[in-house]
């Protein structure tokens, strides 16, 4: 099974279990604390269980890094690591706000060595993929980041905190949107419909961004931390990150903002 098939099978299994729960009260029944240190909603647990059973039946040995269970070794000699957020945008999903997705990435031991990224938008079924060195795709069509670099023409996706730079700079840009699903928002940078994504809340986990980061980079964009450094971090759901992603043309100017 190719990486695409593996990720797609995982996403389909998640989709099947999650869609009947969207916007339902029972989706947000608390299930205790997840490995990432936040409350597990029922929808996350159900989605993760569905994904896990797909991976366990694959036959290959692999390591799974996932938001709720933390880490799990399948088989005896892992060939690769699957980095999964069973539902990215859980808050939206349980509240019926139509922005949530399943991001799946294939990597090794560090966020920087992701070799395959896959994000499925569970609202409209769009699938974003990227393989290291081979470009990024939306529904099998190659995508590329935008070419805008002049702030008054740019559309931002931005989350504030530390040090509240974004609302203070809102007047400088054409458009600001906040959808509440980082993995999907990174794909919107990759496909060129938004120009910059900024999240300074120190809340992002590797599971939220591994797939989207590779998709942005393979679409010609840049992803760094707030100092402009490459994001290098072990694949551990307890890590918390800030992130600036852009089409690359405006990256230094963006770093000045934050």
């Amino acid at each position: 099974m190719s990486y695409y098939e593996l990720c797609n099978t995982v996403a389909q299994a998640v989709e099947k279990t999650v869609l009947p729960l969207i916007g339902k009260t029972e989706a947000k029944t608390g299930m205790g604390m997840g490995a990432d240190g936040t409350e597990t909603e029922r929808i996350d647990k159900i989605a993760e269980d569905a994904a896990l059973s797909v991976l366990e039946s694959d036959g290959r040995s692999m390591r799974l890094v996932s938001e709720e269970l933390g880490e799990k070794i399948i088989g005896s000699k892992p060939e690769f690591t699957v980095i999964l957020d069973p539902v990215d945008g859980t808050f939206n999903a349980v509240n019926n706000i139509p922005f949530f997705c399943v991001p799946v990435a294939i990597g090794d031991s560090d966020l920087s060595d992701t070799r395959y990224g896959y994000v499925k938008n569970l609202v409209n079924g769009d699938v974003y993929t990227a393989e290291y060195g081979h470009g990024a795709f939306l529904n099998n069509n190659m995508i590329h980041v935008s070419s805008r670099s002049y702030f008054p023409e740019m559309s931002f996706l931005s989350y504030s905190h530390h040090p509240y730079a974004v609302p203070a700079n809102n007047h400088r840009v054409r458009r600001v949107r906040i959808f509440g699903s980082a993995a999907l928002e990174l794909c919107y940078i990759a496909s060129g419909i938004f120009d910059a994504f900024i999240d300074m809340r120190e809340m992002l986990r590797v599971t939220d961004i591994a797939a989207g980061k590779l998709i942005v980079e393979e679409a010609g964009g840049m992803v760094t931390d707030r100092e402009g450094a490459q994001l290098e971090t072990p694949l551990d759901v307890k890590q918390r990150l800030n992130l600036v992603a852009s089409n690359g043309l405006s990256h230094n100017k963006l770093l000045e903002l934050v």
């Binding site: 995508i143 509240y164 600001v176």
Partner: protein, 265 residues
């Protein structure tokens, strides 16, 4: 016109927009190439759908539209419709499934103020239908909207529009610590989400909204028990052409008061 007819017409137009978009295989790509053409085509398809929906039913109306201004459909207008074919057109052209079509109805044909609007329908691209009739309540997919949603939230979720203009209220940064911020890209649909409790609030500090943008959603929010004011806390009024509107919409007085006081600190 009967409420049921208005709702039917709203659904017909939404379906027309939906099939128009569906007819273009790769609508992610369209955006980057010729966004303005696409927007105009989509809007025109919706305008045409409204005209045929009225004429097929033997109805005559004055239509005030965001896209093509003021027109008379049929021979002798019996009522006026304030029409926004696509609110959230950037989302629509980008393939982001968050936009709606919005129609407000008044029996008057000379002038329409917020108070004159007696019926409203908003259909989103996901298939949801919001409608309201003055003094008769607001409805989502035929079911009366009442009270607030179950479950608790760590902080209120508020859609915030404050970008692209020189003045950002200083209190906004302080306020954003107390809320979960969203900005979904369709003011009218955001207001419906406040009406049904999906969002706790919406605020737009840019003073760029016009009467026709929100006349339908204002009635829906009002009939759902919501509160709609400008950022100084004053009720929004005026006629369809009024521009420069800022807004705060909520269903909770306490949250409304907090937003007003922070923005005016």
């Amino acid at each position: 016109m009967e409420l049921e007819t208005l709702v039917e017409i709203g659904i017909e137009i939404r379906n027309e927009i939906s099939s128009f978009i569906g007819g273009n295989k790769d609508y992610g790509e369209m955006v980057t190439q010729r966004p303005k053409d696409i927007t105009r085509k989509m809007d025109m398809a919706a305008e045409k759908a409204l005209d045929s929906a009225l004429l097929e039913r033997g109805l005559s109306a004055r239509v005030i539209s965001e896209e093509i201004g003021d027109r008379i459909v049929g021979d002798k207008p019996e009522f006026m419709l304030v029409f926004d074919p696509i609110d959230g057109s950037t989302n629509a052209t980008c393939g982001i499934p968050f936009f709606c079509t919005s129609i407000a109805y008044t029996e008057k044909t000379d002038i329409a103020t917020f108070d004159d609007i007696t019926m409203a329908v908003i259909c989103d691209i996901q298939g949801n239908v919001y409608h309201a009739k003055k003094s008769k309540g607001a409805f989502l997919n035929g079911k009366r909207i009442s009270g607030s949603k179950q479950g608790t939230r760590p902080k209120p979720v508020v859609s915030v529009y404050s970008y692209g203009v020189p003045h950002v209220p200083p209190g906004l940064i302080e306020l954003e610590k107390k809320i979960i911020v969203r900005a979904l890209g369709s003011i009218a649909l955001d207001m419906c989400f406040v009406a049904d409790g999906t969002l706790d609030g919406i605020m737009d500090t840019r003073k760029l909204v016009s009467g026709y943008d929100i006349m339908a959603s204002a009635l829906i929010l009002d009939e759902a028990g919501g509160i709609l004011t400008d950022i100084s806390g004053k009720k929004i009024s005026g006629n369809v052409q009024v521009t420069g509107i800022s807004l705060i919409g909520t269903k909770q007085k306490e949250l409304h008061d907090i937003i007003v006081s922070k923005l005016n600190a």
